[in-house]
Symmetry: C2
Subunit: 352 residues, 2 copies
């Protein structure tokens, strides 16, 4: 039931200062202290939540640029200047006018980068959290969009077969660490690339990758791939785009598959890199498929059934990189584009 709405609280927010071109900087965002009613408008179907954790996603960068005014999709996708940026978060219900959520309920889904968000839940934007025997923060990643991305991307888009060879870029990142483990569970040979020796070591010692390399130390990416895949690559789980994709295309096998989960190397460029090996798609009959987990929520409960037992049995390794405090959110988000995060980057906004 909606309260009468007398109590208020300070609501710190992360605001987009202006549209971003090139690499985002901390100064592209600023903190603002606003005030929030601690109850939902009487008669509304909204829910007021207190945000506990926020997910840092490379995809946010694609929403920071100036939208194309002639494209309704672009306008809908872009963040608004002067407003809090948004993303996925884990939160607790403070007050609710919605029949499915009551005070104290935990949920995850779309929220603002702020201490409190007033949300309008839908079946594909907000999900009640039923399993709390696992860390709550996991719902920003492994048990949220990140995990669903790895699951749909690997099991549906890649259509792997036992014994196939799999390459994952940004392999120690939020999605990559899971894809490598799914690939091993499926009996594949899996190699990952990352941006530091520390991450390469993690890939081999923690995430079960058969082989890994630091792409920053390779002069010739195609040669590095050839070294790891003398017989070629059956499946590429694409997180970075650009030069790496071009090198992969040279090393794909006939009838290979490329699941395009993201192209983080390209988001901050004024002009994307030119790719020269696209004809391989024809010569080698490759399937390249872009996808977004936000269009796959109909598989979410199936995914949970699949992944929760592995987590409870300790059969999945999952590393989180947690920034403390909303005020440290912008630098954590920007760190993604410089490869600073190890594992899933998130922000802890308030104690559970």
């Amino acid at each position: 039931m909606a309260n009468m709405g007398l109590a208020t609280a300070t609501n710190n927010q992360v605001i987009l200062r202006d549209y971003v071109s090139g690499f985002p900087k901390e100064s592209d965002m600023y903190m603002a202290a606003t005030t929030v009613d601690l109850s939902v408008p009487v008669g509304s179907m909204t829910v007021l939540v207190k945000n506990l954790y926020l997910s840092c996603d490379p995809r946010s960068r694609t929403r920071m640029g100036k939208p194309d005014p002639s494209s309704p999709a672009s306008l809908a996708h872009a963040y608004a200047i002067g407003k809090p940026i948004t993303g996925f978060g884990v939160c607790k219900t403070i007050d609710s006018g919605h029949p499915n959520f009551k005070t104290g309920d935990l949920l995850w889904g779309r929220v603002g980068w702020e201490e409190y968000s007033l949300i309008t839940p839908t079946l594909s934007s907000h999900f009640k959290i039923h399993h709390t025997d696992v860390p709550l923060s996991y719902y920003t990643g492994l048990l949220g969009i990140t995990g669903l991305t790895a699951y749909v991307g690997f099991y549906e888009i890649c259509s792997s077969k036992k014994g196939e060879t799999v390459f994952v870029s940004a392999a120690s990142g939020a999605v990559g660490q899971l894809v490598g483990q799914f690939a091993k569970m499926s009996g594949c040979y899996v190699v990952g690339s990352a941006s530091s020796k520390e991450k390469v070591d993690l890939l081999k010692t923690k995430f079960g990758y058969d082989e890994a390399f630091n792409y920053k130390e390779e002069h010739d990416l195609s040669a590095a791939l050839k070294r790891c895949f003398p017989e070629g690559i059956d499946i590429y789980f694409e997180n970075v785009g650009g030069k790496m994709l071009d090198a992969v295309l040279q090393n794909m096998r006939t009838n290979g598959r490329i699941a395009v989960c993201g192209m983080i190397s390209q988001y901050n460029l004024e002009e994307p890199e030119g790719l020269r090996n696209i004809t391989n798609i024809y010569h080698k009959r490759i399937r390249v498929q872009g996808f977004a987990a936000i269009e796959c929520f109909d598989r979410y409960s199936k995914f949970l059934e699949f992944v929760l037992p592995y987590i409870r049995q300790g059969k999945i390794t999952y590393i989180e990189d947690i920034a403390q405090g909303l005020e440290n959110g912008p630098s954590a988000l920007i760190g993604l584009f410089h490869g600073k995060n190890v594992g899933k980057q998130l922000v802890a906004v308030a104690p559970e």
Copy 2:
């Protein structure tokens, strides 16, 4: 039954002089008169055929370049210097050691560019011709690889829905003319590009395209596509690659599909053009699928069942561009890369 092999005949052949780089020229091939036994070796499973029609395919260009010696696939794909080039043709059995073919049988499949070929039939390389109430030359195209390409490409790879928008490049070519008609039969809006006013007129007046443009007269391909598809493109049937593909990627709709049948604009370039709009695959969740009909012969009989009634009822328009005489084969083949052909280019080698 194999004859005893006394009779011989002159066998004119089109020989590859040297590996080709850049645009192929007539001088890259030469005619040679050899001698052929008019009977198959005793005890062999081979078939001696007289070639009636040869198909000119852009794909041949990909076999004329110097192979990569480290790649078994590349070595197997490449033509051999000093040997006849090969392709698909329609032919008549002169002598046979194979139980499935007897003297006089008509067939289509892989043959050399020569008057007579000694072939070793397999289930996926040579097909007996059972229906002769349609022009025999059609088995180089509409009833052969070309038709199967359009069929598999459009009906399987594109997964079209009624009302979707379809763009076809090289639309008046062998495959394009059919894809446009299949798209119209499926209730789609279909636009084609071609290289001359004559072809553009054909697209609209003969092949049922809703709209068409001459890409050579457009300064801005993306703007041309925007003009024809103000709401964007759901399906692109890709025959050309390069700049056109880059412009299409800018104009694709979310969840669009690109069937990559060929990239003829790129085969003769020393260095392929760089594509800058690849990130759209991610942003718009596009599926890009390379395919080759030569891997789809298991659908050939189903395809024949589908297409023969349309041909007999005059419901499919099919234009052939027939060069007369094997000696005119090289220039006909090379003409493909300069857009000289109107419709399916083939070579008539001998009278039926």
